[in-house]
Structure formats: C-alpha cells, structure tokens
Symmetry: C2
C-alpha cells in the first residue's frame, strides 16, 4: 500500500541523508514530498539542488503517514522558524504513533516536540547532550528503533536506517 | 591590565561574531588567541580566513582570563569533538568565575559544560530549547548578563555585546 512520506528540510541538508532514504521509499512504491520553509529549491551541503513539493505553510501533517528528517545543518535552521512550525509538524507523528525517521542532526529537531521523554534514540554525537537533556535515553548505535521512532548517527549507518524504513513502511 | 582571551571556534563560524569582539578586545589592550581543533586556518561562513594561534590540544584553559565563543555552525562542530575538549575547556571559565562571552549559537556549546542550571542566558532562537532543557533561564534579549556569563542573540546585538565585554574586562 502506497504511503505518503513527508520530508522536512532546508538548505545545508546532508544530501545523501535525503537522497538515499528517498530512493528506498520510492523503490518500495511510496510517495515522498519535500517540504521546506518557503517551498523553494533546497541546496544541499554537497551541492545538491532539490525541488520542494510544498512550503510548510501549505501542508497539514495529518495528510502524511510518516516523516523523514535528514541531517546536516538543516534541522538547526528549521528550529529557527518563528512560529515553530517544524517542531509542531513533527509532533503530530510522535503523538499519533506514525513512523518518524531521523538521522544525524535530524533528531535535534525532535527536541522541539517536547515528546522525547523516555524515548530511546541515537544521533550524531554533536547533539547527544541536547537529546539527553530533552529526556531521551541516548545510545551510540548505528540504528535505534523505539516503537516507530527510528534514528541513526551518520551516513555510514544508512544501510541499517534504510532497512528499518522498509520494515516500518511495510506494516 | 592586559588580559589573555581565548576564542574557541572552527569552520563555518559567523565571521563578524569573531572579528567584531576581537577588535573590541584588542582596542582595550587585551591579547586574543584563536584556539581551534587542529590549529589550522579557520574558514568563516562569510569567507573569512582566520589563522589559529593554537590547537586545543596544546593549551590549558587556566592560562586564560576570559573566553569568547562566536556562533555560526562552529559551536555545533566543536561539540562533535571525541574527547569533549571544548566543553571541558569552557567549563573551566564557568567554574572559576572568569568571564564567558557567547553569542548566537555560541551558548549551545555551554550545554556541554553541564553548568547552566539556573543561569540566565539568551541565544539565537534555534538553540533556545536546548538551553532551557540544560536548566538555564532563557530570555529573548539583545544582551543577558548573569554575573560574568554574557550572552547575545545575533550580530545585530554586537554593540551591546561588545559594550559588556569592555566592562567585564575592565574589572
């Protein structure tokens, strides 16, 4: 069954943390929408140019079945949104037990949901203390699966991350 | 009296958050040392090329009278240090009541000191929740002075930030 996946990201995203999971999702027959602050072309850290499907102001989280948050410096920038629209968007998925896939700096954005207490996560080391201070249990692992909250550390973990994406979306 | 000021930063620092306070400090007769992970040239977000004076492995925090942490994406990268050397370096200043000046994303690095509980700080909005979760009281102000912990939000606050740097270093 085709699922609608929302990806939230902006400039300086870690390119492969978007393109690789997106490829996995599309190979499985799912639909992937890139949602950015203004709906413009997103420029990756490595030079990728990614066309947005929507601006955050034009979509509703309830229209999506799962969420992907790639890393790089993109999650930090999304957290600067004056109306906290990205934190609120992500909260919908955690609140409704929909799959959330976050890699590298991606989990950093989940701090703004205030819904990490007692959840098991991993991430790039840089934001480890922020996740712990948000109440999460943090471990240094290639893949952490906590119900349908799925996190990984870096691009080196993409095989495990993509494998779990397949499993979660097949359910 | 000349004071020795340590600046900790790396690539993608917000250039003016280094160059402007440094100019203020030097005009007042103080000595400013740029300390980076490897002691190499630091490349600013805006294209600045800044020669390091030391690598973090070659200095001791106890040799310095005050600390400056400029923002940009530099503080996040410093937090990725495998031995947490920058968090430990910053902790020395908070533990010994030496002035700490942190602007924009700079305060983000102070989370890794575990010494923010009940301190009053400001920062760029992006890392607000991380500072609150670290136990700090966060306010949206151009300048927050909490004893000798001095924080500001963005380059637009540099006049207030530099003014307080002058006052603190004159003491």
């Amino acid at each position: 069954m085709t699922k609608n996946i929302a990806v939230i990201m902006t400039d300086l995203v870690e390119d492969i943390e978007y393109t690789s999971p997106k490829e996995t999702m599309e190979q499985e027959g799912h639909k992937v929408d890139l949602i950015s602050p203004e709906g413009k072309t997103v420029e990756g850290k490595k030079g990728g140019q990614f066309e947005s499907d929507h601006a955050i102001g034009d979509v509703s989280a309830s229209d999506y079945d799962a969420l992907l948050i790639p890393g790089g410096f993109s999650p930090d920038s999304l957290r600067g949104d004056k109306e906290d629209r990205f934190g609120k968007f992500a909260a919908h998925f955690l609140e409704n037990d929909k799959p959330v896939f976050a890699i590298c700096h991606g989990p950093q954005l989940l701090v703004d949901t205030n819904l990490l207490k007692d959840r098991h996560v991993t991430s790039v080391k840089n934001v480890k203390n922020d996740l712990i201070n948000a109440g999460a249990n943090w471990d240094d692992k290639a893949l952490e699966v906590c119900g349908n909250l799925v996190t990984s550390r870096t691009p080196a973990d993409l095989d495990e991350f993509n494998g779990e994406i397949k499993r979660q979306l097949a359910q």
